[in-house]
């Protein structure tokens, strides 16, 4: 965000954090604290794996004509619950990871970081973790459920499911379910990180530096 204004001496006043640097810093932060990153990502991983498996089974069951209103209602309920649990999990681990780094955030602000830099770094970090967790979760959830369904219905499970799920004229079987799960996972983890990141960024540097963890 290079916002510039010029002072009396004609020197350009600017404070910035280029995107390339933000990405590098967020990535570094994830790799150095890999343990915590894995815990955060596994929260979204589990939620999305469950979502993907439910979506897969719904598609197949619909193809088989076994997708009753009853099953549909129960599935919707399960999906909402699992996503809620996953989101609360991410908010919690983001809060932890932000609290752990108050001092670091305070220091960055002393060095000239704007609040938006802090928020951006945390959002990029959680977006990366969210997409990673969601991708693995979606693939694994859909994959395992596919095997279960194959065992139950045989090859017809997916040819019929393909017919059941049409997207813009294209006949797809599991792809939309997987993509939906990934996008949702990324989105949820960014949403979950907004509040903790914003709270940390708003803290006066003195207060952030004082905190001892």
């Amino acid at each position: 965000m290079p916002r510039a204004n010029t002072d009396k001496s004609g020197i350009q006043r600017q404070i910035m954090l280029p995107w390339r640097q933000s990405l590098r810093m967020s990535k570094q932060s994830i790799f150095v604290r890999l343990g915590r990153a894995i815990i955060t990502a596994s929260g979204i991983f589990l939620g999305i794996a469950f979502l993907a498996s439910v979506l897969t089974s719904s598609a197949v069951l619909r193809g088989q004509g076994e997708y009753t209103a009853d099953v549909q209602a129960r599935n919707a309920w399960l999906v909402v619950m699992s996503l809620l649990v996953a989101t609360v999990g991410i908010v919690n681990s983001m809060l932890m990871s932000v609290t752990e780094r108050y001092k670091e955030i305070g220091t960055m602000k002393c060095l000239g970081a704007l609040d938006t830099f802090v928020v951006r770094l945390f959002l990029i970090e959680s977006c990366m973790l969210g997409l990673l967790g969601a991708t693995l979760g979606a693939v694994l959830g859909a994959g395992v459920m596919s095997l279960v369904l194959l065992a139950r219905f045989g090859g017809s499970a997916f040819t019929k499911a393909g017919a059941a799920l049409t997207l813009g004229g294209l006949q797809l079987s599991l792809l939309p379910a997987i993509i939906l799960a990934i996008v949702l996972g990324g989105l949820l983890s960014v949403l979950a990180a907004i509040y903790p990141a914003w709270r940390a960024a708003k803290m006066p540097p003195a207060a952030a530096l004082r905190s001892e963890i």
């Binding site: 600017q14 404070i15 305070g106 000239g112 006066p204 530096l209």
Partner: protein, 248 residues
């Protein structure tokens, strides 16, 4: 510095900071007037809880005063918006802390270049300057080490290099020797003094390390949030002479 040199780089006027603790109001700073000259090495001394660190936070723009104002280069800090305040912290002031406060996930060089990146200096240029600064503090060969792989004294050297990254007018140090042993502490003080004389940077140090008195142009004694007395260099020299007469 150009023709418009003002004598005072930092001025505080009627500076007061109150904290509310369990229903009672505690005055950490009570109407402090302090003028700091450009290029001087000033130590703010006092027992813990005297308000040194609060004063450090106020001068550094890290916290807001309850009343009164801080002027940096005759600019009232209360008038600055968030962007201007960040700019001031980035370009005008270099901070040094008791606990070093390096970013733990970054190497020594990355820590030193971070303020330059915020200032919009291109990456290559920042790297070159960062290496030069690390050389100056004697840590060039350890540039790729993380803070956890460095000793306390080395971390503080990196912090000093980082504080100098954008050629600030002021170095603000909060107990810079507080976590260091005697010898390392002395080295850090010498390094700070060296930067003060060589680069003309104003050093403001909150401390209760008496070794600091030796290099200070002025010593401000603070107690219960008030300035008790200010000693000039000439008065200090007499006292240091007396102290050296004592057995070590």
């Amino acid at each position: 510095m150009s023709t418009g040199v003002k004598e005072y780089i930092v001025r505080t006027k009627d500076l007061t900071k109150e904290f509310v603790l369990g229903g009672t109001v505690l005055k950490a700073l009570n109407a402090v007037h302090l003028d700091i000259r450009r290029g001087e090495y000033i130590s703010i001394m006092g027992p813990s809880g005297s308000g040194k660190s609060t004063l450090f936070n106020m001068i550094g723009g890290l916290d807001k005063p309850t009343h009164g104002s801080v002027f940096i280069d005759e600019t009232d800090m209360a008038q600055l918006d968030a962007f201007e305040l960040a700019w001031l912290r980035c370009r005008k002031i270099g901070y040094i802390f008791q606990t070093f406060n390096l970013i733990p996930v970054m190497t020594a060089l990355e820590n030193v270049t971070l303020p330059m990146i915020f200032a919009g200096i291109p990456s290559d240029e920042a790297m070159t300057k960062g290496m030069k600064l690390l050389e100056k503090v004697g840590l060039a060969e350890r540039f790729h080490h993380k803070p956890t792989e460095l000793s306390g004294g080395q971390q503080q050297r990196v912090a000093i290099a980082r504080a100098l990254a954008n050629d600030p007018g002021i170095i603000l140090a909060d107990e810079p020797t507080g976590n260091l042993d005697l010898k390392t502490g002395k080295e850090i003080i010498t390094l700070l003094k060296q930067m003060n004389t060589e680069q003309g940077v104003t050093v403001i140090s909150a401390t209760h390390d008496l070794k600091m008195i030796d290099v200070s142009d002025r010593v401000v004694w603070i107690r219960d949030g008030k300035i008790e007395r200010i000693e000039e260099r000439s008065e200090i020299e007499v006292r240091v002479g007396e102290m050296e007469g004592e057995p070590a």
